[in-house]
């Protein structure tokens, strides 16, 4: 029981990272129908900007962790969203009316470019960071297995839930969110009724990058080591999560991320660690066979 509970906690905090990245995929897919392959790299850049900010802060003598965390959060979201904006501008906007494969190739090209760009600028070695948040609550101390909910995990879960609530509000209640939902339904029509389509798409990329950068920060805090290659696997799994939940659906992305995190945690705990990625993909294939549109996706009707 204790062991199970512990894995549940680990899985949820892992799933939060995937969910945050998956939202970026699903939003971009929803609006322009393209797989933003470079989104994983944006996540990686977010993690790098976080660690650089932390190093600069400790150089400046700001050692109080809560303040440092807030500054890291602000710096990484602002600077990473510039990358998201630039990515859309360089690689997607010129290709909006082109064959879909063309945009996929530019996205892969951007992904290769950004990986090597970070590698050249920051070196190929892994970058370790000492744990910033330590300690935690302990449950079931009397039992055979002591369950720990670390403050870090609590921080991750609370931060993600707050972000997701804010994000849901943004999509459902604000003018920007309405514009986005309109673009999702019909780009041309949205333009006709006076929505600035270019700006809405740009802001979608910026929002996706913001959430991915927070995921990068969380990844850095949680694992304590990053390198220029972390974006690929995290990106693929987050995309898997988005597909699992039903691509284009925001609650689906959150649910999918959570599920992928849980599957990974439980698989590593009860079966083998080596094949945890295989498990995630196998579940994806199974879901797609029986529910081709994902868990919460709407079936799209093909009209002739």
């Amino acid at each position: 029981m204790g062991y199970f509970l512990q894995q549940l906690i680990n899985g949820v905090s892992l799933g939060m990272i995937y969910a945050l990245i998956a939202i970026g995929y699903t939003m971009v897919y929803g609006i322009i129908g393209m797989i933003n392959f470079a989104h994983g790299e944006i996540f990686m850049i977010g993690a790098f900007i976080s660690i650089i900010t932390f190093m600069v802060l400790s150089l400046l003598g700001i050692g109080w962790i809560p303040l440092a965390l807030v500054i890291m959060l602000l710096a990484t979201t602002i600077l990473t969203s510039v990358y998201g904006w630039a990515l859309e501008r360089v690689a997607y906007r010129p290709l909006r009316n082109s064959p879909r494969l063309a945009a996929l190739i530019t996205a892969i090209g951007m992904s290769i470019f950004l990986q090597n760009y970070v590698q050249l600028l920051q070196g190929a070695r892994v970058k370790p960071l000492q744990p910033l948040i330590s300690g935690g609550f302990r449950f079931l101390e009397g039992g055979d297995f002591v369950v720990t909910l670390s403050y870090l995990q609590l921080f991750i879960i609370v931060l993600t839930i707050v972000l997701m609530l804010a994000f849901t509000y943004l999509i459902n209640k604000t003018a920007l969110g309405r514009a986005q939902r309109a673009c999702q339904q019909d780009l041309g029509m949205a333009g006709l009724i006076g929505i600035n389509v270019d700006r809405t798409i740009s802001l979608t990329f910026v929002m996706g990058a913001t959430l991915a950068s927070v995921a990068g920060l969380i990844f850095l805090l949680n694992y304590g080591v990053i390198d220029f290659y972390i974006g690929f696997l995290a990106g693929v799994k987050a995309f898997t999560a988005a597909v699992l939940g039903g691509i284009g659906s925001l609650p689906g992305a959150m649910l999918g991320g959570l599920l992928i995190g849980l599957i990974e945690a439980f698989w590593s705990a009860y079966f083998t660690v080596e094949y945890k990625d295989v498990a995630a993909f196998a579940i994806l294939v199974l879901v797609l066979i029986f529910r081709p549109t994902g868990l919460l996706g709407k079936p799209d009707v093909e009209k002739v």
């Binding site: 900010t53 990358y83 996929l104 190739i105 294939v285 002739v304």
Partner: protein, 497 residues
């Protein structure tokens, strides 16, 4: 970024605002990642600053943006006046600023970046001068360019009857040309391997329109099939080759059966996942595949049983003693070159022929309109499955060749990046164009190989090239699609609309 109309001229204020915005964005992009560097020092990490890089990047972005706007609006003379001095300044800084500070180069710390910037600015000013000289500088609009390139594509396709055999002839005599050293032949083998893989994937992506992001999985299956068959059953290359192809095709069927009814992007992610699964299994099934250590000592192919090595292993005969030649290590390379050339040509021939068979026609029809095909009573899944498994089979052949050439394989060689490169070759060349694959492979694989010294920058430039070619020509370099059948053939052979 709308195309500016020929007459409209952006007011200076708007232009400055635009350039200012660009400078702010570049500042934001470079501030953290360029401005600071995490350095490994004994006992932890240290942070270095290099704000000069941020400064130069921002300044160049500002100037460059103004230049691009002016160039687009045909105000070529002013840009000729600003870009040329910028180029000269970069050149001077690179050449002489080193005297001030021997520790580093200016404006950026990397000579390669400086030289590329110099060439870009120089090219920009030359183009501006050229435009001013001719017709007052009319940069072609995007549509005009697409049309012109489509015409080029059509012409090249029309001339393919000559270009194809000419290229083949060149490849045939290449090993005997005086400048063909070992390095060139190695690059040739590499390019041909990618051409073959590109043609194989072209069946799946170009003809059947199935987006496969995990082609490397079949490449890996082929490579490991041959390596393991040779290791456990002592099979030679030519005996194992068809088996490896069959195994790869079988892997294709196994994967394709459940997932081929998914729509495009779902298929992409599942194939991508499958590629990763194969790699993870190869990495972790230590007792069977050797895990991360890979398999070494894979036997080389023989020439009808004759070994191409200095000394024959037990009981065999070597190529040079049989024919009474003196031994030369390059013989083996030349043999491998011809082998992959033959395999690639086989792939090409197969594709060209099967396009004319009912099944090939069915693939292309399915790519164009699945619903129409279904209502005509076609079975989409089986049709797709044949394309998928035939493509996989050629991937498996390519993998076997890779294994026998390297003599050593490990899961390292079968990462996603390989799939991406092969797909990029197919798409950049122009989907479905056989000749386009050749050009794209030479451009993407051959050229960077010559710049091995710039190792660090190779993949950076590769990614950048993928983006730039696609933005410049979204439908691929040689994309031009002629209907396979016409009700009324166009009058006059070879006329192009």
């Amino acid at each position: 970024m709308s195309e500016a109309a020929a007459a409209s001229i952006t007011p200076t204020r708007d232009m400055l605002r635009d350039a200012g915005l660009m400078a702010v964005v570049v500042f934001g992009l470079s501030f953290s990642l360029v401005g600071f560097k995490i350095e490994d020092v004994p006992g932890g990490l240290a942070i270095l600053t290099r704000f000069d890089g941020v400064f130069f990047a921002t300044a160049l972005a500002f100037l460059g943006r103004i230049g691009v706007i002016m160039l687009r609006e045909q105000r070529a003379l002013p840009i000729a006046i600003t870009a040329l001095p910028t180029a000269v300044i970069i050149l001077l800084l690179q050449l002489f600023a080193g005297d001030l500070d021997p520790e580093r180069t200016y404006p950026f710390r990397s000579t390669v970046v400086n030289w590329s910037l110099f060439s870009v600015t120089l090219a920009m000013s030359l183009r501006a001068i050229w435009l001013t000289w001719h017709h007052g500088g009319a940069a072609r609009s995007r549509d005009a360019r697409e049309k012109a390139m489509d015409l080029v594509g059509a012409k090249v396709q029309d001339a393919a009857r000559f270009i194809g055999p000419a290229l083949l002839g060149f490849a045939l005599i290449l090993p005997f040309l005086p400048f063909a050293d070992r390095r060139l032949l190695d690059i040739g083998i590499l390019v041909l391997t990618y051409i073959m893989l590109g043609w194989g994937l072209n069946i799946v992506v170009g003809l059947a329109g199935l987006l496969d992001l995990g082609y490397v999985a079949f490449y890996a299956v082929g490579a490991y099939s041959y390596a393991l068959l040779a290791q456990y059953f002592d099979l030679g290359f030519f005996l194992a080759l068809p088996l490896a192809g069959i195994l790869a095709a079988f892997a294709g069927i196994l994967l394709g059966f459940p997932v081929l009814r998914l729509r495009g992007d779902y298929l992409a992610i599942v194939t991508l996942g499958f590629g990763e699964i194969i790699r993870i299994i190869l990495l972790n099934w230590y007792t069977f595949t050797g895990g991360p250590d890979g398999i070494s000592g894979i036997p080389r192919p023989t020439f009808f049983g004759l070994e191409l090595s200095k000394r024959a292993s037990d009981g065999g005969d070597t190529f040079h003693t049989f024919f009474g030649l003196t031994y030369s290590p390059i013989d083996r390379i030349i043999f491998l070159f011809y082998l992959i050339l033959a395999m690639a040509m086989l792939t090409n021939l197969f594709t060209l022929r099967i396009r004319k068979l009912p099944i090939g026609r069915a693939w292309e029809a399915l790519r164009e309109d699945e619903i129409a095909c279904r209502s005509l009573g076609m079975n989409p899944r089986n049709t797709k499955l044949t394309a998928f498994s035939i493509g996989a089979m050629f991937g498996g052949f390519g993998g076997s060749f890779f294994a026998t050439r390297q003599g050593f394989i490990s899961p390292e060689s079968f990462t996603f990046i390989e799939s991406a490169v092969i797909l990029a070759i197919v798409v950049l060349g122009g989907m479905g164009s056989q000749l386009g694959v050749v050009f794209a492979a030479i451009l993407l694989i051959g050229l960077p190989e010559f710049f091995r010294e710039l190792q660090q920058y190779r993949m950076l430039a590769f990614g950048l090239a993928m983006v730039m070619i696609m933005v410049w020509r979204p439908s691929g370099l040689l994309a031009h699609r002629e209907p396979t059948l016409r009700l009324h053939p166009p009058p006059g052979k070879g006329s192009v609309k």
